[in-house]
């Protein structure tokens, strides 16, 4: 009998799907605890204001209301902590103003929570919240980074001069200056990376629970990393020791970064549950998500490349203003520094690089990592700069990339901005993508489109990213306040089935399947015999969660290490049972056998012996078959690849249609190609969204203009093309799986490919650059203002 192949490389259909397609998922808002109360947050509708007074009496008197809290009630608890500390050029630590759970004295963005009402039902809490009498006195506000750093700008935090959180740099300033002085050509580009709103389809939610008998708190929350939330909230905000705080992140409906962070609402419901001795639940309405989930991106940069006469990159100089919003979110300081500036070598051999980054407070929602986090900003800057160089010099877009690629035999490759790449082959992904996209056939398609009155363009991006985060020692030196290893516990049950407990978290990535395949591959048992458990601090030893495309590369590696221990112990048991030397036992396809004989024992038999140790080397070996491993990676992983986008622009309306998209990525070892393809397609959709549709717009007064799906353009099915995905893998050299990560490549590689294509389509209009999103209105204006000049020429 041939069992279907379920190991590494098989497109196994997902184990988790049955519950999701049947309505049996278990999301946070699906949880209801006996005696549960509901919390409603009253938020600021002003971007910046002094809180003159809050009268809670009217609200407290409303039907069903159990409690009303403001900052005055929270004096004993801490602010929401930041998990990363950056030091400025001059060595001083970043400005780290307090981020109170409820606003203290001032509100700093629309959506800043001022008070919370706890009542019997959600509607009662909301009804009562309207009766809160809150007097605010408007203060001048700033929403854009450029306004915030202008002289005389209003201060978001009274004690942060110039709104500068930090003024940081990396690289070799003198070296870059010297190279620029000698350059044959310098090309400069100013560009914005538009602010995005993550909008995972499941709004954030949290349920706090407290057991007065044991003194134990439980928080159910929409999180990508329950252990991190336990650490941050327990240790810094509420002072609850770990053993008295359980954090559960059940099924989570998408995260994309926005559910990494510890949010005020989580602390609030947990604290209130303790005070009231009843469970307290909060679920965000979508309009609340828009103004309270951490936003992404929002950079303003200037980039300059020095070139020699042949188009070889000599030096890169970058200066960036990064918006932090009104407060520092958990990982915000790391995004425009170690997830961005360190990526500025990209796939190129640029020998010297200098980048300075000012992180800036504004009266906007806090900004933090959103799918890709820093790497999309770096990639966009580089890949737009490369195409702009071609625009200015007439060099060919493909040739210049090939000329500057890090060669396939140059690895390990040390960049001038700290990272050391372990492997990659950028020529291979470029060639494959160009072939799949029929780059060579494009001129004919352009001509055909022209005959139909359409402007057709093609663009590419060759990119690299750093993920699989991250070596603890290294990130510690860079300012992380936590380690970034991962943990796996592999439990072989007495009859040979397996439960794996992982510190990573799946909110769409399909870990229950991929990890089961990994275990199946290593232990030789069918996927149906393996369960993967994640998302509960009471069950899983520890873990850092899922973000930065780390789950397989780091979490999977921990699993491999734990399985190595299982196999090592199994060998000892097998040696005892079969009266052989341990060195003669080999493990293959789920069987321990004595080399050179036909004697063997299945994993199930070994497990049973381990748990029923009647015939067992009990003097030298503990019973049981249950192993835990912590894995700390040696380096980041470096996926990369080439994305090619083809668009058609309707001159009359300015509408851009993506007519073809090809992504060929090097994601290292692929466990489940179907899932990898899905991850890339989802990432590309978000990248096309950023390039063409999405924009979190604030007006000059600090009001969020795109505060609902009525105004914020989410990519819909008819906005997107089919997305062709290919992989051309080189293996990661430093983790046991050779895996690199695939969660973010789609969102990182795609935006510049789209914009490069749009600009190519507008070739005849003399367009050098345009900022995302390339909305119909923007394109129409460009076409409009360039048309007369063309006619005059």
């Amino acid at each position: 009998m041939n069992a279907p192949f379920e190991g590494i490389g098989a497109s196994v259909r997902r184990k988790e799907d049955l519950r999701f397609i049947s309505g049996g998922g278990h999301y946070t808002d699906d949880i209801n605890r006996p005696g549960q109360l509901h919390a409603y947050f009253r938020r600021s509708d002003r971007p910046h204001a002094k809180i003159v007074s809050i009268d809670t009496a009217g609200a407290a008197a409303c039907p069903g209301v159990v409690a009303v809290y403001t900052a005055a009630d929270l004096a004993a608890i801490g602010g929401v902590p930041c998990g990363w500390q950056i030091h400025s050029k001059d060595g001083s630590p970043m400005a780290e103003p307090k981020h109170p759970v409820l606003a203290e004295g001032k509100v700093r963005h629309v959506g800043d929570p001022i008070a919370v009402v706890v009542a019997g039902t959600r509607q009662q809490a909301k009804d009562a919240a309207e009766k809160l009498d809150i007097v605010l006195e408007d203060l001048p506000s700033v929403s854009s980074v450029t306004d915030a750093v202008a002289p005389g700008a209003p201060r978001v935090h009274d004690d942060v001069a110039g709104n500068i959180c930090y003024d940081w740099h990396i690289g070799d300033k003198e070296g870059v200056d010297a190279a620029f002085a000698k350059a044959a050509k310098v090309v400069s580009l100013d560009l914005l990376n538009n602010r995005l709103i993550p909008n995972a389809m499941e709004p954030r939610a949290a349920v706090g629970d407290f057991d007065p008998m044991s003194g134990e708190y439980t928080l159910y929350t929409t999180s990508q990393n329950p252990h991190v939330i336990r650490l941050l909230m327990g240790a810094f905000v509420l002072q609850i020791p770990e053993h008295k705080l359980r954090v559960v992140a059940p099924d989570v409906g998408g995260g994309f970064g926005s559910k990494i962070y510890h949010y005020a609402e989580e602390a609030m419901v947990t604290w209130a549950a303790g005070k009231l001795k009843r469970p307290v639940k909060w679920t965000a309405e979508r309009s609340e998500s828009f103004m309270s989930d951490a936003h992404g991106r929002d950079h303003a940069s200037t980039a300059q490349m020095a070139l020699d006469a042949e188009g070889k990159f000599l030096a890169l100089r970058v200066s960036t203003l990064a918006n932090m919003g009104g407060y520092l979110s958990t990982f915000a300081p790391a995004v425009p520094t170690y997830l961005y500036a360190t990526l500025l070598a990209g796939v190129y051999t640029t020998p010297v690089i200098y980048c300075e980054v000012k992180a800036v407070f504004t009266n906007t929602v806090p900004v933090d990592a959103y799918r890709g986090a820093g790497r999309p900003e770096a990639t966009y800057l580089l890949e737009r700069l490369v195409d702009t160089i071609c625009h200015d010099t007439g060099l060919d877009r493909v040739a210049i990339r090939r000329k500057n690629f890090i060669a396939p035999d140059a690895f390990p490759y040390q960049t001038p901005v700290a990272l050391q790449y372990d492997s990659g082959n950028y020529i291979a992904t470029l060639d494959a993508a160009m072939k799949a996209a029929d780059w060579a056939g494009f001129p004919a398609r352009r001509a055909a489109a022209k005959a139909r009155g359409k402007l057709r363009g093609i663009g590419m991006s060759t990119y690299l990213e750093a993920c699989g985060i991250a070596p603890s020692k290294l990130v510690g030196q860079l300012g992380a306040r936590a380690g970034l290893y991962e943990v796996a516990n592999v439990r072989v049950h007495p009859t040979g089935s397996v439960t794996v407990f992982t510190g990573t978290h799946s909110h769409g990535q399909g870990h229950e399947t991929t990890f089961a395949q990994l275990v199946s591959d290593q232990l030789g048992i069918p996927v149906s015999q393996i369960d993967v458990v994640h998302g509960d601090t009471a069950k899983i030893p520890f873990g850092m969660g899922t973000y930065g495309s780390r789950s397989l590369a780091v979490g999977g590696s921990a699993m491999v290490k734990a399985m190595d221990k299982i196999i090592a112990k199994g060998k000892k048991i097998a040696a005892h049972l079969m009266e052989a030397s341990v060195d003669d036992i080999e493990f293959k396809d789920g069987k321990f056998s004595v080399t050179g004989t036909d004697k063997s024992r299945t994993l199930g038999e070994i497990a049973l012996t381990a748990y029923v140790p009647h015939n067992y080397p009990i003097e030298t070996l503990e019973p049981g078959l249950d192993e835990t491993a912590f894995y700390d990676p040696m380096n980041f992983t470096f996926p990369g690849g080439c994305h090619v986008c083809e668009v058609e622009v309707d001159q009359d309306t300015g509408i851009t249609s993506v007519v073809n998209f090809v992504a060929v990525d090097d994601v290292g070892r692929v466990i489940n190609p179907m899932i990898v393809e899905g991850q890339v397609q989802g990432g590309v959709a978000q990248g096309i969204g950023q390039a063409l549709l999405e924009n979190a717009a604030y007006d000059a007064e600090g009001q969020l203009l795109s505060g609902s799906f009525m105004d914020y353009t989410m990519p819909r099915a008819d906005d997107l093309p089919n997305i062709t995905v290919g992989t051309e893998s080189t293996l990661c050299t430093h983790n046991p799986l050779g895996a690199k990560g695939c969660g973010e490549v789609g969102a990182i590689g795609s935006p510049p490919a789209v914009i490069n294509a749009v600009i190519d389509a507008l070739k005849d209009f003399g367009v050098r650059h345009l900022d995302m999103p390339a909305s119909p209105q923007k394109l129409w204006a460009i076409i409009q203002s360039n048309r007369p000049r063309m006619a005059a020429e």
């Binding site: 509607q123 009804d127 309207e130 009359d652 309306t653 300015g654 549709l693 924009n695 717009a697 203009l705 795109s706 799906f709 009525m710 105004d711 914020y712 353009t713 989410m714 909305s775 119909p776 209105q777 129409w780 204006a781 409009q784």
Partner: protein, 263 residues
């Protein structure tokens, strides 16, 4: 939303009576009203559900298409009779919202609401429709009175809408990229009342007729006839998705496309 009393009368007379109560509001498909209630922008004392008044239905004669107020967008889009008589109307209905919205939203609700970015008002105005209520008949020209404002008196219920069958008509919609409502919608018609062009989505005062286009098309019914005519941006809406100038431009593009589609 705020709580309210709910009534579901079975006759128009009873409904009118129920709507006589202070802050009483009619509920049709709820595809506008319920989102408004959820945002707590409206605080009715009584919500009067019009579902049981027998106001749904389509009647097509040689000269007119008469649509009951409670007829859903989906029913209009799917009606073979309407597709034959005024295909532009069925097309317009098929472009409103999404399938689920079209299964509930009604023509009466859309006209009564007179959202400046709604689709139906342009058809009513361009086709010279007559809106019949529990008490009178109102010409479309008199019905729309600025955004979210109509000639309806408090408590007045639309019962049906009658569209004269035109010789030619078409609707072209440039969707707001986010909400998918009309950012600019143009309905062109050549009918018993002459050539009429109605623009929705663009005007600060809601739907309006485009006199310059009407004159040009009356002389020469062709897309080319509109080529040189610029629409002034004054009085047009401006928002993050489209400036008044861009809307003015799109009015021209959509109008030319509509005329071409109308044949």
């Amino acid at each position: 939303m705020y709580d309210f009393a709910y009534q579901k009368p079975s006759s128009v007379a009873d409904a009118v009576k129920a709507l006589g109560a202070e802050d009483a509001k009619a509920l049709a498909g709820g595809q506008t009203f319920i989102p408004v209630l959820k945002q707590r922008l409206n605080k009715p004392s009584v919500v009067v559900d019009l579902a049981r008044l027998g106001l749904a239905g389509i009647k097509v004669t040689g000269e007119a298409v008469v649509i009951g107020a409670m007829t859903t967008h989906g029913a209009v889009a799917a009606s073979a009779e309407i597709r034959r008589a005024i295909p532009a109307l069925a097309n317009l209905a098929s472009m409103i919202g999404d399938e689920a919205v079209r299964h509930r939203g009604t023509i009466g609700g859309s006209l009564a609401n007179n959202d400046p970015s709604a689709c139906y008002p342009s058809a009513a105005l361009a086709l010279g429709a007559t809106i019949t209520t529990d008490r009178r008949a109102i010409k479309a020209d008199d019905f729309f009175q600025g955004m979210f404002t109509t000639a309806l008196e408090p408590g007045e219920i639309i019962t049906s809408v009658s569209f004269p069958v035109p010789a030619k008509a078409a609707y072209m919609k440039f969707k707001n990229p986010a909400s998918r409502y009309a950012m600019v919608g143009v309905f062109v018609a050549k009918g018993p009342a002459g050539v009429r062009v109605a623009i929705t989505g663009a005007g600060q005062g809601g739907v309006f007729r485009h006199a310059a286009f009407e004159t040009a098309l009356s002389a020469n019914w062709s897309a080319d006839a509109l080529a040189g005519i610029a629409t002034p941006a004054d009085g047009l809406n401006s928002d993050i998705h489209a400036s008044a100038e861009y809307r003015a431009h799109l009015i021209g593009v959509m109008a030319r496309r509509a005329v071409a589609a109308a044949g």
